[in-house]
């Protein structure tokens, strides 16, 4: 489970710390107490930043770091594809052997494949990704709403 890539991200997280954002969410994993506060910043439909602060196990913290590395600078549609692919991998119960196409999409996140064998830890790996999805819905939904009222 503890691939070197995961331990590296845990010990040297990318983009950690809260910065300016369009929306902020706070997600917790009630079974273990992992927590994350996550902000997204969009430039149109381009992700200009994902900033976060949290506490939790190596899996949850490394996953947030990988998310930051993968998603910042991406177009929303590409990011959604990465998120969906990561979700598919994490829900595979260890039965999915990532192929080249999947590795190309997920890059470092493919290291989490082993985590999917541990049901108790899947939530840890998904915490930041679910937070990002939620924050994105709020940021873009909110922007839509503003446009409508403007």
């Amino acid at each position: 489970m503890y691939q070197d890539v995961i331990l590296d991200h845990y010990k040297n997280p990318h983009g950690r710390g809260l910065r300016d954002g369009d929306a902020e969410v706070h997600h917790v994993n009630p079974t273990c107490g992992d927590e994350i506060t996550l902000r997204v910043k969009y430039d149109g439909t381009t992700i200009s930043d994902v900033s976060y602060e949290g506490q939790g196990c190596s899996i949850s913290q490394a996953s947030a770091s990988v998310l930051n590395e993968l998603l910042v600078g991406k177009e929303l549609a590409d990011a959604q594809k990465i998120q969906e692919t990561f979700l598919e991998l994490m829900q595979s119960k260890g039965k999915l052997e990532p192929d080249d196409a999947m590795e190309e999409v997920l890059e470092d996140a493919v290291a989490f494949a082993g985590v999917s064998k541990y049901p108790a830890r899947v939530k840890c790996a998904l915490l930041s990704w679910m937070a990002w999805k939620d924050a994105t819905a709020q940021a873009l939904g909110g922007a839509d709403a503003e446009r409508k009222t403007a």
Binding site: T31, C32, E35, G56, Y118
Partner: protein, 418 residues
């Protein structure tokens, strides 16, 4: 092998528990240190459960056929065993529930619907402590929200004990119920009952004791405790899941209203109204967990054959050894009393900055089962400024060698994340 005074013959005892022979992860022997979450089940209990389903299964209290009478006798026999185990003055004071949470919720609901003088309403106060399991916090929060009663609690000292310095301000004339844990599931603290009960009696408040982490590990005498209610669960004391106990003083059970309505708990029913069966049946609506109660009876037989005082001595010796060994692990901080005095055999700790989930996972890879997280006692984690803990908890079959395996495992964890 380490020999400590007071230890049980674990070699013999472990033969009763088939699961302890399991080998995990390519050859790692199971080291089961999660007994505060649930205990393992001895062959003697498994056999009784098998026999019940193979020979006696029927619904209770309603048939006239042989199986119904046998099932009823076994179910009510289990009640006798529980009553004797906790020294209850009457078997009718033993209510079967599905677990300790249901027992605690049952009391909260009895008091919410009660008439004077028991009624909890907006002018009254409920007292709990900061070291309660969520199951002894949330039911009182619900009752407080629904009635307007004020919820108060005792705080904790830095070394994991109840802070009773302000007991006269916390328990007052307005207090209707004081509900607290006898032995904490997260800190291991064994709380001083007498001081709290004395103050509660002074102001006429009822006392409910959560004995979930006590009943499996020490002699429990509800008369000596002088409480009004005592709750515990079967699966932490070698019994099956799905069976809990609420003991309550007879006159209270007569006075207090039922919570769940249904079959079994009635005397007569018309379309307009009903009258209720006497306690304990008044509080046991519907088909009860019959096999589970019978299994709990078998677990009590098993524990009694070994002796609760001997189990207590065994765990105390083991806890003393474990505390001493664990405090030698660099960066390890025990959350709770740092000696074996007045504490049970559940030991929570943090290990430097390594998250307990990671500690638990790497220990699991070595076959060592511990609990990680906030142990359904999140306020304790908040109190001590930690996100979670790792908890090792022992039982009658635990050995010094398993403590050694834990300590070695923790060294491995430190090297892995260091």
């Amino acid at each position: 092998m380490t020999q400590l005074p007071g230890l049980l013959d674990t070699e013999a005892i472990r033969k009763d528990f088939p699961i302890l022979d399991r080998v995990l992860h390519d050859g790692k022997k199971l080291v089961y240190l999660d007994n505060a979450a649930t205990s393992q089940t001895p062959r003697q209990v498994i056999d009784v459960l098998d026999e019940y389903y193979e020979q006696h299964n029927a619904n209770v209290h309603r048939g006239v056929h042989v199986l119904a009478e046998e099932a009823t006798a076994l179910y009510e026999g289990a009640r006798d065993k529980v009553a004797a185990f906790i020294n209850a003055p009457s078997r009718d004071e033993v209510i079967f529930t599905k677990n300790a949470s249901e027992s605690l919720n049952l009391v909260a609901n009895m008091l919410g619907w009660a008439d004077e003088p028991y009624r909890v309403d907006h002018d009254t106060e409920i007292v709990i402590t900061e070291m309660e399991h969520h199951s002894n916090i949330v039911p009182w929060q619900l009752l407080s929200q629904r009635t307007g009663a004020k919820l108060k609690w005792f705080g904790l000292t830095d070394d994991g004990r109840l802070d009773l310095s302000n007991i006269d301000e916390v328990i007052t004339e307005k207090t209707k119920i004081v509900s607290f844990v006898l032995v904490s599931n997260i800190l291991g603290t064994h709380n001083p009952v007498e001081a709290i009960v004395r103050r509660a009696q002074e102001v006429g408040a009822l006392v409910l004791i959560d004995a979930s982490q006590a009943a499996p590990h020490m002699p429990l005498d509800v008369q000596a405790l002088q409480a009004d209610f005592v709750a515990f669960t079967g699966h932490k004391m070698c019994g099956p899941t799905g069976i809990g106990v609420l003991w309550g003083r007879q006159e209270l059970l007569e006075d207090l209203p039922p919570f769940l309505g249904g079959g079994e708990m009635i005397e007569t029913v018309s379309m307009h109204s009903s009258t209720y069966a006497p306690a304990p049946h008044k509080f046991e609506a519907g088909t009860p967990p019959i096999a589970q109660a019978v299994g709990l009876g078998a677990a009590i037989d098993y524990l009694s054959s070994i002796g609760m005082d001997k189990i207590l001595a065994h765990e105390h010796a083991l806890t003393e050894y474990a505390v001493q060994k664990l405090t030698q692990v660099p960066d390890l901080r025990i959350i709770g009393p740092s000696t074996a005095e007045d504490r049970g055999a559940a030991i929570s700790f943090t290990l430097g900055d390594i998250h307990p989930h990671d500690v638990g996972q790497v220990l699991d890879e070595q076959g060592i089962a511990v609990r990680v997280g906030h142990h359904c006692a999140r306020p304790v984690c908040l109190r001590y400024g930690i996100p979670a803990t790792t908890r090792a908890s022992f039982y009658l079959y635990s050995t010094p060698a398993e403590v050694d395996a834990l300590v070695e495992g923790l060294e491995h964890v430190r090297n892995f994340f260091g």
